[in-house]
Symmetry: C2
Subunit: 264 residues, 2 copies
């Protein structure tokens, strides 16, 4: 099982959680980027990547990989994100801290506390890298998870510093399509003309299929053209879902079914 | 006129471009964050912020501010983003460089060249801060605009290093709503039940109003609930647009009209 690393990342924590849940001993391997997790999964095995945060929205690199590569979704796992302020054990209180390390998302999600603390913010690639840097800096601290703080032997100075409720959805991905589960994921592109999205959504509406997610992403090569990322209620085993997707193909320029998935 | 700074940012460049176009002498003031530009504009004057990049998608902080604050869109300006690799004039060739400074977006948009160069990447808040740091570092370089490279007296080592075509749309914002222009911006929230988005889009479809943008953003406080950001063709002076929006209110939980705007 490949996960978005480095060691101590939220994906690492979710991978361990998942391997406990399925009660199978699997080797867990860290990869540096979401794209690398996808490339390994294309060859064999499964992977764990974040797909959406309840405050910051979808994770674009995960969507772009799902859109481009023949990789499918098998499971989704929600994890409450608690961000802590942690430092080397030699630091006794918040006043001793000069700089705070963290990644882009954790900084966005902790704006209120960061404004109050008023320290220098150093943006790094991941919260686990932040924890590593804080472990070596006697004037520094990290915004990271409890899991990363423990892994790097840090002391927690403040708990729950994120702005309000914060949940990240992770998905377990595989190179084989799955038809089991209560939700189904798909991507499509509609024609660049009036009513094309409306007509696409009609196929779901007619069959009383609920959309739990619709989100647009740029096609990149053609400016101001988009693909849609959609999640619907129902599995690929259900007749009404099969029928809706069959009709949808006719109303779209391109469509990619990413399988049904189980919430665990 | 307030812009997303620091000095040398793309928003700075667009502000100068805009003040030349309108041929009015206006004082141009840098602000540290998009939210600060909005807060100043709420008090008085106008502002310039990025709203969408053709490769990376909408700028979420701009959308969240438009959604929350009584600020409206007056103009849009497209700017081709050319990213250059630039360094202190004492550096003679790329081999001398050990580290490259840039911000999150420019790094994402230059992945191919960065992979080839294989140098340490240091992520900072903006491309103009990257240019400033590179000007003081004899082993460093920046990914930034030509405008920033000139401002910080850097030499350009490589031109056009971004992956393919890259355009950013900027908007000029004001505290007064505008009804002139070929496009209109709005935000809405639909009920959390099957068919609610479909029914909302019907109001545009019935009147042959084209959607040029639809994008969802989390409501944050309620996990997995979203608001929609929509741009349509037509101005608030047009009867069919007025009628569509009047009907749309009935099919939405909340709706905010952000005005019509002119492309310049």
């Amino acid at each position: 099982m490949y996960y978005l690393g480095p060691e101590g990342s939220y994906s690492h924590e979710v991978s361990l959680l998942f391997s406990n849940l399925i009660k199978k001993k699997v080797k867990i391997v860290s990869k540096q980027t979401i794209s690398e997790v996808f490339d390994e999964v294309l060859k064999n095995g499964i992977g764990v990547v974040p797909i959406e945060n309840s405050r910051e929205g979808p994770v674009n690199e995960t969507l772009d990989n799902l859109f481009k590569k023949q990789v499918y979704v098998k499971y989704e796992i929600e994890k409450k994100i608690d961000i802590v302020l942690a430092s080397n054990k030699k630091i006794k209180n918040v006043e001793e801290i000069r700089r705070i390390y963290s990644n882009y998302y954790a900084i966005q999600e902790s704006r209120n506390v960061l404004n109050d603390l008023n320290k220098e913010i150093i943006q790094v690639e991941s919260t686990s890298k932040a924890a590593l840097l804080a472990s070596k800096d006697l004037k520094g601290a990290a915004l990271c998870s409890k899991f990363a703080a423990n892994l790097y032997n840090l002391i927690i100075l403040k708990n729950n510093i994120q702005d309000g409720l914060n949940i990240t959805r992770f998905v377990v991905i595989s190179s084989k399509i799955s038809k089991r589960g209560k939700k189904t994921m798909l991507f499509f592109i509609v024609e660049h003309k009036p009513g094309s999205l409306y007509k696409a959504l009609k196929e779901f509406y007619k069959r009383k299929i609920n959309l739990t997610m619709i989100y647009s992403r740029p096609l990149k090569e053609i400016a101001w053209n988009y693909y849609f990322y959609v999640e619907i209620e129902g599995s690929l085993k259900e007749k009404r879902v099969k029928k809706a997707l069959k009709e949808l193909i006719k109303n779209t320029v391109d469509m990619k079914i990413k399988g049904s998935f189980i919430k665990i």
